[in-house]
Amino acid sequence: MSLLEVTGLQKVYKGRRGGASVEALKNVNFSVENGEYVAIMGESGSGKTTLLNILAALDKATSGTVILDGMNLSTIKDSAMAMFRRDNLGYVFQEFNLLDTFTIEDNIYLPLVLAGRRPDDMRARLDKLVPSLGISEILKKYPYEVSGGQKQRAAVARALITDPKIILADEPTGALDSKSSDELLALFKQVNELGQTILMVTHSTKAASNASRVLFIKDGIIFHQIYKGSSSDTQMYQKISDTLNLLAQGGDLK
């Protein structure tokens, strides 16, 4: 069985007082295997953020099911939702979303503190992560004192520290310069090679070319997908941009 199974997902935003309603997701079906690195691409308004929000249990689908590791998200009660997120999901945001009142270290600890872990346990988990992420220098600093790349690495650490089943990344390179982007993508790849499942929403062809599979979403449905297989990053890059061109021209691949 797949780690994540999405079937017949639909999301309709109702207009206020009988205004026109918008169908952000029409009928989305896909699955993610354990240890996979999946990128979802699509233009603005294609519904990819809505999809990610539903996967992260931040939003509710109008119909359809999302099953993560055998658990149906729609059956989880509202009150248990935050706990579910905390224990099963790691989230990496475009805007880092670090809290400026905490040091980097405390920011990383946040989900563990919310889960009620003991301080020495938290410390042990952090010590395991620190070398691979290269954040040992900045642990005692505050977010405003470090660069964007460092912030995003801290955010990745925060996502990883709970040992989540899946990492959801929303445009993780969106606010980074190219060098920091490259570093972050390398980091993702490294994490994935250690067995971590990653689902990333992105605009960037370069970012997507790192993934083992790329899904294209347009007008609320999964339109197409490409497997990387044994092709190199450059070949993958080419495949993705060809597909994007085709999509932009309105071509029909089906």
Binding site: L58, A82, Y91, N97, P119
Partner: protein
């Protein structure tokens, strides 16, 4: 650009920021209204036809000045919070092509609109409420009320002028703030990444030390005279201490808590401790201001209400009998006894003529010296003016010389003494040995009694300065030993007192009348001889007491209303602005896995701390200054500690209830913003 554009933009800006502006307008209106009321009651001559009315009016006049000053400071503070909240909007306007002059115009119209609302609202409310306030006031000072409606044009004009000036100053200040910020700064004004404050050990500890020393002074003081001197020092130390402790000390405390990993890394503590640490530096000042305002309210209301409620007892302490005749003079003169006898017989004669009989008479004279008392020695050579800083006011004491016959008569004792052998009746804090030295003379103390247990206490009450009553066999002889002692100004140190108190069988009105007759007699008899003298009736003085204490109480209430409203507004703005800051923060935390329940809990613990800190500190301050207030009230002749404590308790309770209501309202507003 069209001329009507600026007023429209200004009005829109106010309407869209209603959450910020409505409380501001309410405060303005209240301030204007209370200013008008106070001015009207103080200046309109409403009370000038009543006995003692001028004291009450004076107090209200004084209150008007306080109101004007405080109003200016407070409206400035509020306005700067408002402008800060809108800098982003102004930044957008300036990006869209408005220059500073245009922005200035918007600010002008905004101030104009605020001014109009404050003025119309305030004056209408002021006029409407003035009759109510007047009735309340007149009731407090026990003057018969009429139900005619008064409108004071001069008060209206003054109010308009004063508040127009205040608003003009506010306008200049806002223009300055908007002008000196560049467009990009304006847009980013409230996003400027703020450094989390470092714990400042030196300042934090200094704050605690200063606060503790303020408390120490307040608690240590034993005598009303020193209370007068040290009160302001204690107050200033306490205020400085409060600011330092809340600004630096609280950050320090948070940092210490953060070091304790077991405590810090708990869901409930984690978020609140870190955001408190982050904010305290900024918020410490406003928390300290709230705390100081609350303390002022508590002190003001508890002391003035205690004075007012206890007025009858205070009056009795001052005037134990219906009629109180008094004469005193510096220096030693041979004919004092003669004068005393003449006064008494004159008063008795006139009382009889008036058709009344004197009962329960107390009549005596004594001599008094004051100096610096140490080791059973009353030093008469210390010049208090030269040693004003080094002198320990707790050691200032006075000695009353009584004749043993007078003493026996007053207390019903049967003591006999010989030359240089004396009885001493002593206030508890003075240490009198077997030998008592007063100036150059030494006396043997054959018997010593604590004043609080002595019978003399029922006859003479002095609470202001520590006193030793020295009972001697021949007071005239002893007094003559001191006739050449002069103080640094050259006037004699020895003074003579004569008192004649008695009751009558007259009603209140006639007592007053008799008092006036006797006063005239005493005056005619003594004025030419340069005696201080008076003859009062208790009934006449009752009016004065009520007017004074009632006026103080009323002033206390009015000022407290203003202070309380200011507290509310400071808290409200603080929480609202924090709510906007926290909006995104709690959003992030929810995404990371914080439950709604966790959020509620952490908000609650944060809010509770913010609310509780000032009131807890205020109560601590109140507790620390109560002893000193008690000493100061002694100067008014008020000696009722249980009542003062009771009043303080009730005040804390009322403030607490009011505070709880604000807490509820504010936290609701906060929740609405955050979720």
């Amino acid at each position: 650009m069209k001329a009507g554009l600026y007023p429209k933009i200004a009005a829109d800006g106010i309407r869209k920021n209603g959450r910020l502006y409505i409380p501001y307008f309410i405060t303005c209106i209240l301030m204007v209204a209370l200013f008008y009321i106070m001015h009207m009651l103080g200046f309109s001559g409403l009370l000038k036809n009543f006995e003692g009315g001028s004291t009450a009016s004076d107090m209200l006049r004084f209150g008007t000045y306080i109101m004007a000053v405080f109003g200016t400071i407070f409206l400035f503070y509020t306005q700067s919070t408002l402008v800060k909240g809108r800098l982003k909007e102004f930044g957008l306007y300036s990006v869209l092509g408005m220059n500073r002059k245009n922005l200035g115009r918007i600010v002008f119209f905004e101030t104009l609109i605020s001014w109009l609302i404050a003025m119309t609202g305030g004056l209408i409310a002021g006029i409407g409420l003035s009759k109510l306030a007047e009735l309340g006031f007149l009731r407090l000072v026990a003057v018969e009320v009429n139900y005619k409606f008064n409108l004071s044009v001069s008060s209206l004009v003054t109010t308009v002028i004063v508040y127009s000036v205040i608003f003009f100053l506010i306008f200049l200040n806002s223009v300055r703030r908007v002008r000196f910020a560049s467009a990009i700064n304006l847009i980013r004004a409230d996003k400027a990444g703020e450094k989390p404050p470092k714990a400042n050990w030196v300042v934090g500890i200094l704050g605690f030390v200063i606060l503790a020393s303020g408390y120490y002074i307040a608690i240590k003081i034993k005598q009303p005279l020193s209370a007068l001197v040290w009160f302001f020092i204690a107050v200033i130390l306490t205020i400085i201490g409060t600011y330092l402790v809340l600004i630096a000390g609280s950050v320090l405390l948070c940092r210490i808590l953060q070091k304790n990993k077991k405590y810090y890394y708990k869901t409930t503590h984690f978020v609140s401790v870190s955001s408190m640490a982050y904010r305290m530096k900024r918020n410490g000042a406003s928390l300290a201001s709230i705390c100081i305002l609350l303390t002022m309210i508590l002190v003001m209301i508890s002391s003035t209400s205690a004075l007012y409620i206890n007025r009858e007892e205070t009056l009795m302490n001052h005037y134990p009998r219906h009629i109180d005749a008094y004469a005193s003079k510096y220096g030693y003169e041979k004919d004092y006894i003669e004068i005393a006898e003449k006064l008494r017989s004159g008063i008795d004669e006139r009382t009889k003529e008036y058709g009344a009989a004197a009962k329960n008479e107390i009549c005596f004279f004594n001599y008094c010296l004051s100096g610096y008392f140490e080791n059973s020695y009353l030093n008469l050579d210390i010049n208090p003016m030269e040693n004003i800083m080094t002198i320990d006011y707790d050691k200032v004491a006075q000695v009353y010389f009584f004749d043993v016959d007078t003493y026996n008569r007053l207390t019903g004792s049967d003591e006999s003494l010989s030359d240089r052998k004396v009885l001493a009746v002593v206030d508890g804090n003075l240490d009198v040995g077997n030998e008592l030295k007063i100036g150059k003379e030494t006396f043997d103390v054959v018997k010593k009694t604590d004043n609080s247990k002595a019978k003399l206490r029922n006859v003479i009450s002095t609470n202001v300065v520590s006193t030793i009553y020295v009972i001697v066999d021949d007071v005239d002889k002893v007094a003559s030993l001191y006739k050449d002692y002069k103080d640094p100004t050259g006037s004699p140190m020895l003074s003579w007192y004569w008192i004649y108190d008695f009751d009558t069988d007259l009603d209140a009105e006639h007592q007053t009348e008799l008092g006036k007759i006797l006063n005239k007699f005493v005056h005619d008899e003594l004025s030419s001889k340069r005696f201080v003298n008076y003859c009062d009736s208790r009934e006449y003085q009752r009016n004065d007491f009520i007017k004074t204490f009632g006026g103080l109480f009323f002033l206390g209430i009015l000022l407290s209303i203003i202070f309380l409203v200011s507290c509310v507004l400071i808290i409200y703005y603080k929480q609202i602005s924090e709510g906007f800051e926290d909006q995104s923060r709690f959003g992030i935390m929810q995404k990371v896995g914080m439950t709604k329940e966790n959020i509620k809990k952490s908000i609650n613990s944060q809010m509770l701390t913010v609310f509780l800190i000032p009131i807890i500190f205020a109560c601590m301050h109140l507790a620390a200054v109560l002893p000193i207030i008690h000493k100061l009230l002694l100067l008014f002749g008020h000696n009722n500690m249980p009542l003062l404590l009771g009043c303080a308790g009730v005040c804390v309770l009322i403030c607490g209830i009011f505070y709880a209501v604000i807490y509820k309202l504010t936290s609701n507003a906060y929740y609405r913003i955050v979720s």
